[in-house]
């Protein structure tokens, strides 16, 4: 069994972390370029290979039609849900998409879980390179306010990336775990998490018991489509308008120019978090240069509406926890967007206390995921997380109304039983429609699944079928049914309303092999074999050198034996054994290398292995 890691699959950046057994503290793993942030950008190279992270981000400018960012916004959503996003984001949706969205990259189409799986696989590779060991299990974080379909899509992405997703953990809860371990906090904690594309607020109670610390989430709320992206969109729309006043430039959202401007504006936004003013210089295609001075005040005016939108979920979460803002003991800020000074000030004023920002807001969620990964890997040790379901689960009843069966903010796992019977004689099925949301009418809630409950023919009202709805510790729904009279249990095939079914996933898993880098072991075997070949050919070359005649018979025999053993090992797939035989052969040929070197009398050869001579 390989290692278990924690992964923050973010809208803008993704990270992978692990718990360092030496220090007992979580740590983010850097990629090949040294940064722990992997931009959540995926590009399809014209040669068919998949490019992820910083190199893909650079292609946003050069190959925008083959490159996608912010794919998290599309996870678990149907074509009808995303119409408003399409105006703001350069997503190219395959017009043939039915209930599952397909995104076009160049001449190929991918589902959002597939694109996310490329990001997860990249992080898996980072971690494997770092440990020198395979990684096959992960805790992946999701926005607390993600619904069932969005969670399921994230879990599917993990599966497609070759990772067993041990648990989906809510991002603000993960952040609280990281802070709890860091600062030994106690009492009531509010976590305000404004990321690239999502906003969450969670209210937790940290309890010390004789068994250890319990992190109990009291309530959570949020908006899965509100984040730094929205600030960028506002800024971009504002500057477009300014430019259009003097120059009729075409800013199609798919174009390179729009991407270039966006990049400049994001840099400008970051500068304004540090400085009071910053200037934008943007060369236009007509040769002119658009120049403008921005003050922090002008940015604040622009982002005020975004902050105001976060206050609605904050108030609801506090009300659900039956707490006032001033009753919180600690406030924690999470997500890159909370670097904005106006957000820090607003949060501080609301809760009347200075928010915690000690841990890097980009890393803190991944760090918490690593803590939870360690708990799951080694069993609960002095730390337990009790999370809640963010949305009420309901069943459509007569007339399109919704009967709530599991209220929002119920501790998960949570379940509910409903008893069903038939209305007419010999009725063989009952249609059940499961929904998620707070509204009273089914049409205003999120459809999770519809299924037909099979009933044995009987007089009306006689069958008694108990349907059990269970939300597991990942916040994902499971449904089971039991015939109360006979006691037989039915398994129910629940077809998700907006998601991949098992066949889809099976097919994608097959297809993903085409893109997947070979798994860790396979790569190791290939590398070891290649190095083995090099040593074998160097040895063969040395043995035909006349100077090799000076080897003693036992020496020669030992070399021949080692060569045979190595060749044999290279037939197999045990890369450790291959490397061991390589070492043996290197050892056996030490004298041979010496002889050759002495003969050549070339000091440049000194201290080199035979393979290098």
């Amino acid at each position: 069994m390989g290692r278990t890691v924690g992964i923050d699959l973010g809208t803008t950046n993704s990270l992978v972390a692990y718990l360092d057994p030496q220090t007992g503290q979580p740590k983010c793993i850097p990629g090949p370029a040294g940064s722990t942030l992997c931009p959540s950008v995926v590009s399809l190279d014209p040669d068919g290979s998949i490019i992820v992270g910083e190199p893909a981000r650079r292609r946003l400018l050069t190959q925008p039609e083959r490159t996608i960012y912010s794919v998290k916004r599309l996870m678990g959503r149907g074509p009808a849900d995303i119409q408003s996003e399409l105006k703001l984001f350069p997503f190219r949706i395959d017009p043939a998409s039915t209930n599952v969205i397909r995104v076009q990259l160049g001449d190929r189409v991918f589902t959002p879980p597939e694109i996310s799986s490329f990001i997860l696989r990249e992080l898996k590779n980072w971690a494997e390179a770092y440990f020198g060991e395979p990684v096959d299990r992960a805790v992946v974080t999701v926005p607390a306010y993600f619904n069932d379909a969005q969670r399921q899509a994230t879990k599917d992405a993990g599966k497609l990336a070759g990772l067993e997703v041990l648990r989906l953990v809510n991002e603000p809860t993960a952040a609280a775990l990281a802070y709890g371990l860091h600062e030994k906090q106690r009492g009531k904690v509010a976590v305000y998490d404004l990321g690239g594309g999502t906003f969450d607020i969670s209210i937790l109670k940290l309890i010390s018991t004789s068994d250890g610390d319990i992190y109990q989430v009291l309530s959570t709320n949020g908006d899965t489509h509100l984040g730094g992206d929205d600030i960028d969109n506002l800024l971009q729309a504002f500057v477009h308008e300014q430019i259009l006043q003097t120059d009729p430039i075409d800013f199609s959202p798919h174009g390179e120019l729009a991407q270039e401007l966006r990049r400049e504006l994001i840099a400008l936004k970051h500068k304004l978090s540090e400085a009071d003013s910053a200037s934008l210089r943007f060369p236009l295609p007509n040769g002119k240069i658009f120049t403008r001075e921005f003050t922090r005040g002008s940015l604040d005016a622009l982002i005020r509406p975004v902050i105001d939108r976060t206050m609605v979920p904050v108030k609801q979460a506090l009300a659900d926890a039956h707490l006032k803002p001033t009753e919180m003991d600690e406030v924690v800020l999470v997500g890159g967007t909370t670097r904005t000074p106006l957000i820090r000030r607003t949060v501080q004023e609301l809760f009347d206390r200075k928010p915690h920002t000690e841990l890097n807001p980009d890393e803190v969620v991944a760090l918490g995921a690593a803590v939870q990964a360690n708990i799951l890997d080694h069993g609960v040790q002095g730390m337990l997380l009790l999370d809640v379901t963010p949305l009420s689960l309901g069943i459509e009843t007569y007339g399109g109304a919704v009967a709530k069966v599991i209220p929002r903010n119920s501790t998960i796992p949570a379940s509910a039983q409903e008893l069903y019977t038939t209305g007419v004689d010999n009725q063989t099925g009952i249609d059940i429609h499961v929904l998620q949301g707070e509204r009273e009418l089914a049409k205003d809630c999120r459809s999770l699944a519809r299924f037909n409950l099979r009933v044995p023919p009987a007089p009306a009202g006689l069958p008694r079928i108990e349907v059990k709805f269970l939300i597991d510790a990942n916040g994902i729904l499971q449904v089971g049914a039991k015939d109360v009279r006979t006691g037989t249990e039915h398994t129910i095939e629940v077809q998700p309303s907006y998601g991949l079914n098992d066949n889809d996933i099976e097919r994608m898993l097959e297809e993903s092999i085409e893109y997947a880098e070979q798994d860790f072991t396979e790569r190791q075997v290939i590398e070891a074999r290649a190095e083995g070949e090099a040593i074998l050919s160097a040895t063969a070359k040395a043995l035909v050198n006349p100077n090799s005649a000076n080897l003693s018979a036992p020496e020669r025999a030992k070399i021949d034996l080692s060569v045979t053993a190595l060749k044999q090992m290279m037939q197999g797939t045990d890369y450790k054994q291959i490397r061991k035989q390589m070492d043996d052969l290197n050892h056996a040929t030490e004298h041979l290398a010496e002889l050759l070197m002495n003969a050549a009398l070339q000091s440049a050869f000194e201290g080199k292995k035979l393979a290098e001579v």
Partner: protein
């Protein structure tokens, strides 16, 4: 039922070692987490009598204590069967805590397991002593809706509805008080082990729940109209 003995202590066969066991949550023989017996209930799960007055601090302690042991986090590396049992037990523990913590949900649940919850016709009918006021309130609601459709003056109608709504909110508060008294009656009847007193307490609780749900719906409807 003669005494509220926790039923979960009745003999049960362990799914894992197949021994007869007397544990409530864990097998007394092999220590594995146990399936919930079919006849268990939320009170039994917390090993408390079926009383409506519950000491919240003790309930929370017990909840946290059991959470440590039953939560699926403990069973990630267990067999699929044990994982399944843990998921089920852990969800039932959370369901139980959610229900018992809520003063009204607790009464609903008690009556359901005592077989004494009868929603039936009374749920849809106005309590007799309130008939007149309910009639007036519904009239105000209709008038407001009509005025809104015809574009007429709604301000004074809203004012009238608002004060009528306040009146019912007060009644809801009174009902909660009555519910608390009836809950006390039930607890006493349980202690004295008097079947007739228990039955009358249950009937009273059932009646109060129906009234409460009727009035609560009215209040919610009024609030929605006034939004």
């Amino acid at each position: 039922m003669a005494s509220p003995l926790p039923i979960a202590n009745a003999p049960l066969v362990c799914w894992n070692c197949h021994e007869r066991t007397v544990g409530t949550h864990f097998c007394s023989s092999c220590g594995k987490v146990l399936q919930v017996p079919n006849n268990s209930d939320y009170f039994a799960m917390f090993e408390i009598p079926r009383k409506l007055w519950i000491e919240m601090g003790a309930l929370e302690q017990k909840f946290l204590q059991l959470s440590w042991k039953l939560h699926p986090d403990n069973y990630v590396n267990a067999t699929p069967e044990e994982r399944e049992v843990s998921l089920k037990r852990s969800s039932e523990l959370n369901d139980a805590y959610r229900t018992l913590r809520d003063p009204v949900g607790r009464v609903e649940y008690l009556l359901a397991i005592e077989g004494a919850r009868k929603e039936g016709q009374t749920k849809q009918q106005a309590p007799p002593e309130l008939l007149e006021e309910v009639f007036e309130l519904n009239e105000s609601l209709d008038e407001l809706r009509e005025a809104r459709e015809s574009g007429g003056d709604t301000a004074s109608l809203k004012q009238r509805l608002h004060s009528a709504g306040k009146n019912f909110e007060t009644k809801l508060g009174e009902l909660d008080g009555e519910l608390q008294n009836a809950a006390g009656q039930w607890d006493k009847a349980l202690e004295s082990n008097d079947p007739s007193q228990r039955d009358s307490a249950k009937a009273k609780l059932n009646d109060l729940l129906n009234r409460r749900s009727y009035i609560r719906n009215l209040v919610i409807n009024v609030q929605k109209e006034l939004l």
